[in-house]
């Protein structure tokens, strides 16, 4: 089952790797990924993931990471790319 996630994270060394690694280790495949860095030292990461486990648990596992400010499921766009 596919899910869309929005992850806000700090632009610190290894932050993106930590998030992507956590998603995969927790049993989800990443099928789409887009990251937008902003001027405040943070990034908005939009992920499309697929997996049989509950994405709410994944969001809490991501929020344990020190670099992550928030992680949440967002409504899946009907079609087209992830939010820019």
């Amino acid at each position: 089952m596919k899910h869309q996630l929005h992850v806000q994270l700090e632009n610190s060394e290894g932050a993106l790797l930590r998030v992507l690694g956590t998603v995969e280790r927790r049993g989800f495949a990443i099928t789409g990924c887009r990251s937008n860095a902003n001027d405040s030292g943070h990034s908005d990461l939009y992920l499309t993931v697929s997996g049989a486990r509950h994405p709410d648990i994944l969001c809490r596992q991501l929020e344990r990471l020190l670099d992550v400010k928030s992680a949440s499921m967002i409504a899946a766009p009907a079609s087209g790319p992830l939010p820019a």
Partner: protein, 571 residues
């Protein structure tokens, strides 16, 4: 979320740095450790971390030289568990760093506060496949709570202070700081560091009331104790709850001792090698009151058959554990001691259930009257635990002996039991025992090992000797990898594959070569005197015990089965 002023955590001093001097990155590292309350580190020197070892000569921080980096990491783990404080280990880049990884993973799986410091090649060489370069920052990512590469000597102090804070606060865990050699050598003025405000989660009165109601309306409640109780220093509150309610209790491997294992309401460990009374009670319960446990597969057996009729109250410091494997009906958040105290006023009509559990406990209580004249390991361990006393630490390796300790050792406190529960690291026992004694040198430390496990870190006998660490080792020798052999016997049609260790060295001679007093027994009638000799030895000592190679650990829940499907002599 409320906040409160930062307070000392595991001996750490909060506040800003009052030291404007120019110092090297290595000196800042040691100053930061000192200011964080760290007085002991375990490690092994090498090329990239030489600036730190140079600065160590002038530092009050005590360094314990192990004989392998894995020994350093596992000793720091034992130090942390026994002393309820941060454990610190360090090693050089490349193989030094990779040798730490098993110890870091061990701390990760058991939520132990550990700081690993690794030397790294100079920043200009990073990414060039330089001599002894390995990306330990990347390699360790799955098994750390957080990690840093320090690229400026001015950041070393703050990163180390922050690393100490992160490792110990909230759900504890390991952290790693990778320090390139040029950063350790260069001088700078440290940037100020201020401990952030500590977050205190308020108790949700609504969920607490809901949990209270579930308990009062239950007919067959069971208190399910995990290692989180020990980590949260909630043992006293747990004991108040258990005493006030009288609810039958079981524990995971890491939760053993949080409630004294001799308590009347304690039924034993649950799970694969759990006590049959504990497993039957859990399987028949209608409410699990879960404190600091995470429904590990070794505890639950087949998950969809675990406590099938039970509702669940799940209390854990880590919200990501709630609902991960078993949905919770209520999950009160907040300080575990406060939650348990809040629930301890619950009362119910549990008399017949309590009586039933007491009967189960009586029916399945361990027996120590095995036939024959050979040494019966469970009886030896029970006897040793009583002789060693309730203040003794027991450190285990991994295998049959570890399960026998869990089943038969009397544990008066959760911190007395050092065991590699999550990762199952053979070779854990000896270094962890060293760390425990260095944390609490006034208390006896016993290491129970097997002939497979002891060989994984046997080089640490040299560390025992070097520092005069009086760990008492009991080596249960069945000339095999006993637990693997048991599984091959039961589940692989006795097709024994690479489990025979009958060509083991003479362990007493090995120990004596390290300068450790050692002796051997093989008959039951020798055990009592041998245990006395072991415990009264002045320094480190090893008792080698020949046991029956055919001995198995019972009961056993076969893999893929639920906990009602126990095999064994008394299940």
């Amino acid at each position: 979320m409320q906040t409160q002023p930062s307070q000392d955590t595991a001996g750490m001093r909060a506040g800003t740095l009052q030291q404007p001097a120019q110092m090297s990155g290595a000196q800042w590292l040691l100053r930061a450790l000192e200011d964080a309350g760290v007085d002991t580190v375990f490690g092994y020197p090498g090329g990239a971390i030489m600036p730190v070892y140079d600065a160590l000569v002038d530092s009050p921080v005590r360094h314990i030289l192990t004989r392998h980096e894995q020994g350093a990491a596992l000793a720091a783990d034992g130090y942390a568990r026994a002393g309820d404080r941060l454990g610190v280990c360090m090693a050089t880049s490349g193989p030094g760093a990779t040798n730490l990884l098993t110890g870091i993973a061990n701390a990760h799986m058991d939520s132990i506060p550990l700081l690993a410091i690794t030397g790294q090649v100079a920043t200009g060489l990073m990414g060039t496949d330089a001599f002894q370069e390995v990306d330990v920052f990347g390699m360790s990512m799955p098994v750390v709570k957080h990690s840093w590469v320090v690229r400026d000597p001015a950041d070393v102090y703050g990163v180390i202070r922050e690393a100490c804070r992160v490792a110990t606060e909230g759900r504890p865990g390991p952290v790693l700081v990778d320090l390139p050699k040029d950063v350790a050598s260069a001088t700078g003025t440290a940037r100020p560091w201020q401990a952030p405000q500590k977050r205190v989660e308020p108790i949700c009165s609504q969920s607490l009331a809901a949990a209270h109601g579930l308990i009062e309306n239950s007919q067959k409640p069971v208190l399910y104790i995990g290692g989180g109780v020990v980590l949260a220093s909630a043992e006293e509150a747990l004991r108040r709850f258990a005493a006030a309610t009288g609810i039958p209790a079981v524990a995971t491997l890491k939760g053993l001792g949080a409630l004294d294992t001799d308590s009347p309401s304690f039924l034993g460990m649950l799970g694969m090698h759990g006590n049959a009374a504990a497993n039957h009670a859990v399987q028949n319960s209608d409410l699990l009151i879960v404190a600091g446990a995470r429904f590990d597969d070794r505890a639950t057996g087949r998950l969809d058959g675990f406590a099938p009729n039970a509702r669940v109250i799940h209390m854990d410091a880590d919200s990501a554990e709630i609902g991960k494997l078993r949905p919770a009906d209520v999950a009160p958040r907040g300080d575990l001691s406060s939650l348990l105290d809040g629930l301890s006023t619950a009362r119910g009509r549990w008399h017949s259930w309590q009586a039933h559990c007491a009967q189960l406990k009586q029916r399945f209580k361990p027996r120590y009257d095995a036939p024959g004249t050979g040494v019966y390991a469970p009886a030896l361990l029970r006897q040793l635990s009583l002789k060693a006393g309730e203040h003794a630490f027991v450190s285990c390796d991994v295998g049959q002996h570890q399960m026998w300790v869990a089943q038969h050792w009397r544990m008066a406190s959760g911190r007395n039991h050092l065991t590699s529960a999550g990762l199952g690291t053979m070779g854990y026992g000896l270094p962890a025992a060293m760390g425990a004694w260095l944390a609490c040198p006034e208390r006896p430390v016993v290491c129970v090992s097997g002939d497979g496990s002891i060989m994984m870190n046997i080089q640490e006998l040299a560390t025992l000797r070097r520092y005069g660490i009086p760990v008492k080792i009991v080596l249960l020798d069945n000339a095999a990898l006993g637990l693997v052999r048991q599984w091959q016997e039961l589940f692989h049609a006795e097709r024994y594959s690479e489990v025979d260790l009958s060509d083991n060295p003479d362990f007493t001679e090995v120990a004596q070569a390290f300068g450790i007093e050692a002796f051997s027994v093989s008959r039951r009638d020798e055990v009592d005197a041998a245990l006395d000799q072991l415990l009264t030895a002045k320094g480190p000592a090893l008792l080698h015990v020949k046991i029956d190679p055919r001995a198995n650990v019972w009961p056993l829940v076969p893999p893929g089965h639920d906990n009602a499907s126990m095999l064994g002599e008394q299940s």
